[in-house]
């Protein structure tokens, strides 16, 4: 809604294809067709996460630059609802990221996606995208209070690629990383999508965790919004760019 630039649109189209291309070249060197499917699905969810983490932060910062943040706060609609709709909207760009990456992998690299559990996959994909959007919402709540917190969104982009298990299995990381990755909905979403596509296990428990975590992010975000906005009104940080 905020941007109608053709250039922005072009970047949004090309960006996931870059991710996919890099991942496909890396994994093709291994010569194992199964890892190419692994990479294809991982690159698809990477695009969803990137679209959400970067956009969620910059969307609110853009409100500051436009001078509209105060208007959003002073509007009768609860600010958490405004913020939620903004971040979930940005995560829907992830639908394209996922479809574009899989299509690119099929057409350019000849990666055929198995569909062992179509129903589970049909549920796992939207559950993952929405829960990533809700994680973006929780992050963006803090951006209302701290002006430079939007950089956190950009900073989290690459670590979550790793600890979400998008490209590399979590078993390769030290044990202390796992509790962090379990707290992230993208980890469970990624597992659910892979299990549903390849049939390597039941996707439903992972889908359930994804939904539970998404609900937890929403509840925490709504509770935090009131406290953070009160602090921002006390410290007069809403009008600052």
């Amino acid at each position: 809604m905020l941007s109608q630039s053709a250039f922005d649109g072009l970047l949004a189209i090309l960006w996931p294809l870059f991710f996919g291309t890099v991942a496909f070249f890396m994994f093709r060197a291994g010569g194992d067709p199964d890892t190419l499917v692994y990479a294809s699905l991982g690159a698809a969810v990477m695009g969803v996460w990137t679209a959400t983490s970067v956009s969620a932060g910059s969307a609110l910062q853009r409100q500051r630059w436009h001078g509209t943040l105060e208007l959003l706060v002073a509007a009768p609609t609860h600010f958490s609802l405004t913020l939620l709709s903004m971040t979930v909207a940005t995560s829907t760009i992830g639908v394209y990221c996922m479809a574009g990456t899989l299509f690119w992998g099929r057409v350019v690299f000849g990666i055929e996606l198995p569909l062992e559990e179509p129903l589970a996959l049909a549920v796992a994909i939207p559950a993952t995208i929405v829960s990533i959007g809700l994680l973006g919402f929780l992050l963006s709540v803090t951006f209302a209070r701290y002006r430079t917190a939007w950089t956190l969104g950009a900073m989290l982009e690459y670590p979550v690629w790793l600890i979400g298990g998008f490209l590399v299995p979590l078993t390769l990381f030290p044990g202390w990383v796992r509790p962090i990755s379990w707290a992230l909905a993208p980890t469970w979403g990624m597992n659910a999508i892979r299990d549903a596509a390849t049939g390597s296990g039941s996707a439903w428990p992972d889908v359930a965790m994804c939904v539970v975590l998404g609900a937890a992010y929403t509840a925490t975000g709504v509770l935090l919004t009131n406290r953070i906005l009160f602090a921002a009104r006390q410290r007069a940080t809403l009008s600052l760019t």
Partner: protein, 329 residues
């Protein structure tokens, strides 16, 4: 009938920090005990120079800032305790280029804010159409805001603030930076709002604007209301005095101080005009300060000297200058 807007001894302090490694905290008292009331259907003006505390006061009333102390009520409800209730019933319009989505059309801006302000979807189209007509933007609503002039943006701001038809409106310097014709049109729109029964709080630093629009004016200086009354009452405060204007070419601060010490002089202000400055000296009724003023300016290169009756602007300058002097003392 209870007042629609009440400010009771409002204070607001800002805390800023300086330095990177040795951080020092600095407190700035922007509002220092502001109190006033606005009755239903009244257009009340807060008049004051830049930095006087007008915008801070308005932001406390519209729930964007928490007062450091004091209380504010709108339609009888506390703006801190019942912020959500208050937000549903107020409109806020501010001056300047910001506060709009540049890449969206005026129509899309209004549609988005209509959603946020809870305007019923089925009545949105009609309401937006009415407002575009009211502010004179019909026919231009599909253009992107980035191509709008300052005046058009201001009119769009007003339309946005009226979307949910609030009974109380807060207008923060709505004509700032707008050309004279555009400003006149905006003033006509604001007068129309009052005629429609809205209660309006208007902040401005244009004397003639306050004079033309407001039922009552509160003059704000250094975070305090230094005078309050109808435009006529404020004019009467200085109507009996005399004003001497002296064109000078370079005047030192100690000379200005010397003028202030002349017996019977109530205020001295210096305005820059091109290469010269104009010293405006106001004196008490019955005093004729011209001789003493010229004596204290001996040696300064002088231009035209005129004596005239005071205007509302002189009343405003006198009030603001007095407050500044008291604070600096």
């Amino acid at each position: 009938m209870p007042p629609v807007v009440e400010a009771i001894d409002l204070h607001r302090t800002y805390r800023t920090t300086t330095g990177t490694f040795r951080r020092r905290s600095l407190e700035v008292e922007a509002v220092r005990g502001v109190s006033f009331e606005i009755a239903e259907g009244e257009l009340f003006g807060l008049l004051g120079p830049n930095g006087a505390g007008k915008t801070t006061t308005i932001k406390m009333l519209i729930t964007l800032l928490i007062p450091t102390s004091g209380q504010a009520r709108v339609l009888g409800r506390d703006v801190v305790e019942d912020a959500h209730w208050v937000r549903e019933r107020i409109g806020y319009v501010f001056g300047g280029d910001r506060g709009l989505y540049e890449r969206l059309s005026a129509l899309d801006n209004l549609r988005y804010f209509a959603e946020l302000y809870g305007v019923e979807p089925r009545s949105q189209r009609a309401r937006i159409g009415e407002l575009l007509e009211l502010v004179g933007l019909e026919g231009r609503e599909k253009e992107r805001v980035e191509g709008y002039s300052r005046g058009m943006r201001q009119r769009l701001h007003i339309a946005r603030g009226l979307l949910h038809d609030p009974p109380v409106l807060f207008l923060d310097e709505p004509t700032i930076g707008v050309d004279p014709v555009g400003a006149r049109e905006l003033r006509a729109t604001i007068a129309g709002l009052k005629a429609a029964g809205k209660t309006v709080l208007l902040t401005t630093h244009y004397m003639f604007e306050a004079d033309a629009l407001c039922d009552r004016i509160g003059v704000v200086a250094k975070g305090r209301i230094v005078a309050e009354g109808t435009p006529r009452e404020l004019k009467e405060r200085v109507a009996e005095g005399v004003v001497v204007e002296i064109e000078v070419y370079g005047i030192e601060d100690d000379r200005v101080e010397a003028l202030r010490r002349i017996d019977g002089v109530t205020s001295v202000a210096v305005e820059d005009r091109d290469q010269a400055q104009v010293v405006v000296v106001q004196a008490e009724p019955g005093r004729e300060p011209t001789h003493d003023v010229l004596a204290r300016l001996d040696g300064v290169s002088l231009g035209r000297v005129t004596t005239r009756e005071p205007t509302l602007e002189d009343a405003y300058v006198a009030l603001v200058t007095e407050e500044r002097e008291q604070v600096s003392d």
